[in-house]
């Protein structure tokens, strides 16, 4: 006789996600309202962005526990909105992400100014759970939503002269109040070598946690290069320039001895002011060892064959 053990959890017992979320929202609202009575105006419920439909899981995902949403969206370096870690979440509401266009210039067959809505229609979106390692020796695990940078690069058809891409962020001190002070030279610029840009790990992200990218995380479209330090992953992109020579990058311009063009995560090469050997995963107490190329060495180490990464840091 076949003894069938019933499953531990019957499908009928599973709370539908929408109900579960409503419950959480209710609890959050209740808690905040309660606190709000004591501290009017000090606390507000984090506004969640719109859900992105039709996102398929992509390759290269890690099964590590993602960093909580509130930390990913509340602890940011985005100097255009202030130099404190909580400044971007507090100030980025002034950024208008629609209408938004991305200018493609330089050594390409199809230069142009492309509307973000069009770009979003060109490629299917996928979810990629990547590790992020900040040059300040902290790290996160973030479920991004986006598409490979290579898709966009190939679509605009770079010429044989295009060896690098320079990325440019919006420059508008009215929308980005941090730009009213010359903390860095604005607009923020970054760059990749063409083979890095074409690597399947390099992602253009438009969302995280299945939802539209919050402004403080680089809305509406940002770069994610998970084997490099976070400052390389430029936010709120308005321009891609395809160029022959290695382009200028913001942090390299500000302090060349501390921030190289390549910025590959490398535990063996210290930042002058702190060791890169270890890192603190946000939410954890003890530090963990930093992995070469942030754990993506198997995929990307080949890009740097024959290069002295102590010099090309």
């Amino acid at each position: 006789m076949l003894i069938k053990r019933p499953p531990d959890v019957l499908p009928s017992e599973i709370t539908p996600e929408s109900v579960y979320r409503r419950r959480r929202d209710f609890l959050r609202t209740a808690a905040v309202a309660g606190a709000g009575l004591l501290l009017p105006g000090l606390l507000s419920a984090p506004a969640r962005a719109a859900k992105i439909e039709g996102v398929a899981p992509g390759p290269f995902g890690t099964d590590e526990e993602p960093t909580p949403y509130d930390a990913v969206t509340g602890y940011n370096n985005f100097y255009e909105f202030g130099t404190g870690k909580s400044d971007p979440a507090a100030n980025a509401h002034s950024l208008r992400t629609r209408p938004w266009s991305v200018a493609v210039e330089g050594e390409v067959a199809k230069p142009g100014v492309y509307d973000i809505e069009d770009i979003l229609k060109w490629f299917p979106l996928e979810e990629r759970i990547y590790r992020l390692r900040c040059v300040e020796a902290w790290s996160m695990v973030i479920p991004w939503v986006g598409f490979p940078l290579a898709f966009l690069v190939k679509r605009v058809e770079p010429t044989s002269r295009a060896k690098f891409i320079q990325f440019v962020t919006l420059h508008d001190p009215e929308q980005m109040p941090g730009q009213k002070r010359p903390v860095l030279q604005w607009p923020y610029v970054e760059g990749l070598r063409m083979d890095e840009a074409l690597h399947p790990l390099a992602l253009l992200a438009v969302g995280l946690y299945g939802e539209t990218l919050p402004n403080q995380n680089g809305a509406p479209i940002r770069l994610v290069v998970p084997w490099k330090y976070g400052f390389k992953s430029i936010k709120s992109i308005v321009g891609l320039r395809f160029v022959e020579g290695q382009p200028e990058t913001s942090w390299n311009r500000a302090a060349a001895g501390e921030y190289g063009f390549y910025a590959n995560v490398n535990p063996a090469v210290d930042h002058p002011r702190w060791s890169q050997a270890r890192e603190r995963r946000i939410g954890e107490f003890l530090k963990r060892d930093t992995l070469p190329f942030n754990g993506y060495a198997e995929q990307v180490a080949g890009l740097y064959g024959g290069m002295d990464l102590g010099k090309n840091f």
């Binding site: 602890y75 902290w138 210290d270 002011r273 060791s275 050997a277 107490f285 003890l286």
Partner: protein, 210 residues
């Protein structure tokens, strides 16, 4: 001959010391409140270290403001609480250091040693703390008597050096936005400049007696 009776001084109110003590504890209370309310953010260890470092430096600068304040206003009551403020500065500096050693590095002594040798801002920060230790250790009346007023005073001028090292420590660790450490540097230069001007005037006055 009988010594002159000490001139009648205005006695500071009895609540002065308890009030300053409570004020100096406020940053600690604020830290505790932030810790339980989630106000330390996603990286509470960094926030803990930063908070205590900020207050160590602010209180240290406050102790250096006492003498200029007395000269300018004639108030004597700040003198009565200077030692307490200085000890609180040492208290927050200790929490700051413990945060780095225990929470940030988790007592990884080789890593801490390498940090001290390799990174100027850690080296200078450690020096600032080391300079504060003899000041805290000789803060009692008994130590003042044992050392004698002049020697004690000379020793406690190390506070100038400690504050300078503290400001430099802050300046060197900031990546790009230097406003806050530069503000502290300006305050320190003002407070030390006041002393320098007085010193030069005294030397000048001694050479050319009026």
């Amino acid at each position: 001959m009988k010594p002159n009776p000490t001139p009648t001084r205005r006695v500071p109110p009895r609540w002065l010391k308890p009030a300053v003590f409570a004020l100096c504890l406020l940053p600690l209370a604020l830290l505790a409140w932030r810790a339980v309310s989630g106000g330390l953010g996603a990286n509470p260890i960094e926030a803990f270290i930063r908070h205590n470092g900020d207050w160590a430096l602010r209180l240290l600068l406050l102790t250096l403001a006492v003498t200029p304040l007395r000269r300018l206003t004639g108030w004597t009551w700040p003198l009565r609480v200077r030692r307490m403020i200085g000890l609180f500065a040492f208290f927050y500096a200790t929490l700051h250091l413990l945060g780095y050693v225990g929470l940030d590095q988790f007592f990884d002594w080789p890593a801490i040693g390498a940090d001290i040798l390799k990174r100027p801002y850690i080296t200078i920060g450690m020096s600032a703390f080391a300079l504060l230790v003899p000041l805290a250790a000789t803060s009692t009346d008994a130590m003042l008597r044992r050392l004698g007023g002049r020697r004690w005073q000379r020793l406690h001028r190390l506070a100038y050096l400690a504050a300078g090292a503290g400001v430099l420590h802050f300046l060197w660790l900031v990546k790009a936005d230097l406003r806050e450490p530069l503000l502290y540097a300006a305050i320190l230069l003002l407070l030390l400049g006041f002393r320098l001007v007085r010193f030069l005037r005294r030397v000048h006055g001694a050479r050319h007696p009026a």
